[in-house]
Amino acid sequence: MLLHDTALIYGRHLRQSLRSRFGLVFGMLVPLLYLLFFGPLLTHLPLRAQGSSWQTLVPGVLLQLGLFGSAFAGFSVIVEKNQGVLERMRVTPVSRLALLLGRVLRDATVLVAQAVVLVLAAVVLGLRAPLPGILIGFGFVALLTVSLGSLSYATAMKVATPQEFGPLVNATTMPSMLLSGLILPMTLAPGWLNVLSHLMPFRYLVDAVRDAYVGSYTTAHMLYGVLVALGFALVAVTVGTRVFRTAGA
């Protein structure tokens, strides 16, 4: 039943996303601008011992896409709460977990599809990276989306208005982005900033994807990245499930 219900909710929301082509394109705009107008600035900078600047920048841009794409996902739940759609569904026997999973899996699908387009654009601009590494990168984008999406939906269930939700998400995503070294690697940072950035879960994810993009799959970064991504997803989905089970309470 969980599978049946999740597929149903997933399909409903995927159709919703596909109806809004505008949203799909604009979701990619900011990361694309980073590639176009920021990427070329880095090509001659010694960012890392291994690989080109693109192999450092693109992983960061992909996770940035995942971060912003999923952190704001909760807005849709606020709208659906006001329309009464969510309550209408919650009086049916539908699995509460499916109401969450259908949504986060839709987000993961959309963001991975956008990530594919971004990587293709990056290849045109000069990115060269091994295919397995690129695929691993998509895996991390998907996991990050599921995690942050869950937290975003859970938060949206708890707040009453979009006016509260927007600033709240903004105030968490901006520092997360800066402190994780998504734009430039934290190895460039002074010691205190580097230490601080290790408190950010995304730091481990971006380090892992950067290793994957240079073909190093068995590094400590990769191990920590996988562990943190899975752990974070587990915690986030658990929190999300609890909120969706007891919502309204």
Binding site: D5, E80, Q83, E87, R88, V91, T92, G248, A249
Partner: protein
């Protein structure tokens, strides 16, 4: 034989201003096939009561059964037995009426083909056949309300809960909805539990009225009995009766309800 029975049903909310008791011990018995009107000023606890009885909100005290299923121990049974139309309705403005009806059928675990069939049946019963392929945002208030009710009837519920079903409808829409509610009861024996602000509606539609104020039941009876008992005569208007019972006038229909 009661189809709904509640004992001391209570709901408190934690707010910035401390604990607020929206519903403070409601005792109710509803008989099968009855049209029950829950009446009360804004903030009396009508919506909160409905949301508890439909499993949307866990009570903080008391107990209730709906169609023989205990609210606390068998919420799944309650969900199968009841349909609910919130005041706001519950459709996505971007999708068609058909998609909403089919999705609802699938949420009640009907196989695909059966869900499509059920959508047609419901549309036929509620006069929505010609509107099936229109987006719900293009429907009139009355049409959308009929769609909301069709969604709630997908699984042939024994009890239908309607939260202020006629708020915002024009006179024709209201009359149509009254007919529909009576027809559901007469043809299918559906018990209808509705809240309303409109005293004429409560008078015309309900077999029995329960008046709540500040979270408790303050009067319960047929409209006639209530008029006689509280209004002083059988010719008293329900308005006078209501004032006598609650000590104040009914709230205007367009006042904002307490959102919980």
């Amino acid at each position: 034989m009661a189809i709904i029975s509640t004992a001391g049903l209570t709901r408190a909310f934690r707010t910035k201003h401390g604990l607020v008791e929206a519903v403070r011990g409601i005792d109710l018995v509803v008989r099968p096939g009855e049209i029950l009107g829950l009446l009360g000023p804004n903030g009396a606890g009508k919506t909160t009561t409905l949301r508890m009885l439909t499993t949307l909100l866990a009570p903080t005290g008391g107990a209730a059964t709906v169609a023989g299923c205990d609210l606390a121990t068998d919420p799944a049974g309650v969900r199968l037995a009841c349909g609910y139309v919130a005041q706001s309705g519950g459709v996505d403005p971007q999708v068609t009426a058909r998609e909403e009806l089919v999705t609802q059928g699938r949420l009640y675990r009907l196989p695909k083909a059966r869900a499509a069939e059920r959508a047609e049946e419901l549309a036929h019963d509620l006069g929505l056949t010609d509107l099936l392929d229109r987006r719900t945002s293009t429907l009139s208030g009355g049409q959308r309300r009929r769609l909301d009710i069709a969604l709630a009837l997908t699984h042939h519920p024994k009890v239908l809960f309607l939260d202020e079903p006629t708020t915002g409808l024009d006179p024709a829409g209201r009359a149509g909805l009254w007919d529909l509610v009576r027809r559901l009861r007469d043809e299918h024996g559906t018990t209808v539990f509705l809240t309303t602000h409109y005293l004429d509606e409560a008078d015309a539609l309900s077999d029995r009225l329960v008046i709540v104020d500040k979270g408790v039941v303050v009067a319960d009876g047929t409209p006639t009995a209530l008029k006689l008992e509280h209004g002083g005569s059988i010719d008293a208007s329900l308005q006078e009766t209501f004032l006598a019972i609650t000590g104040r006038g009914p709230a205007p229909a367009d006042a904002t309800p307490v959102a919980v």
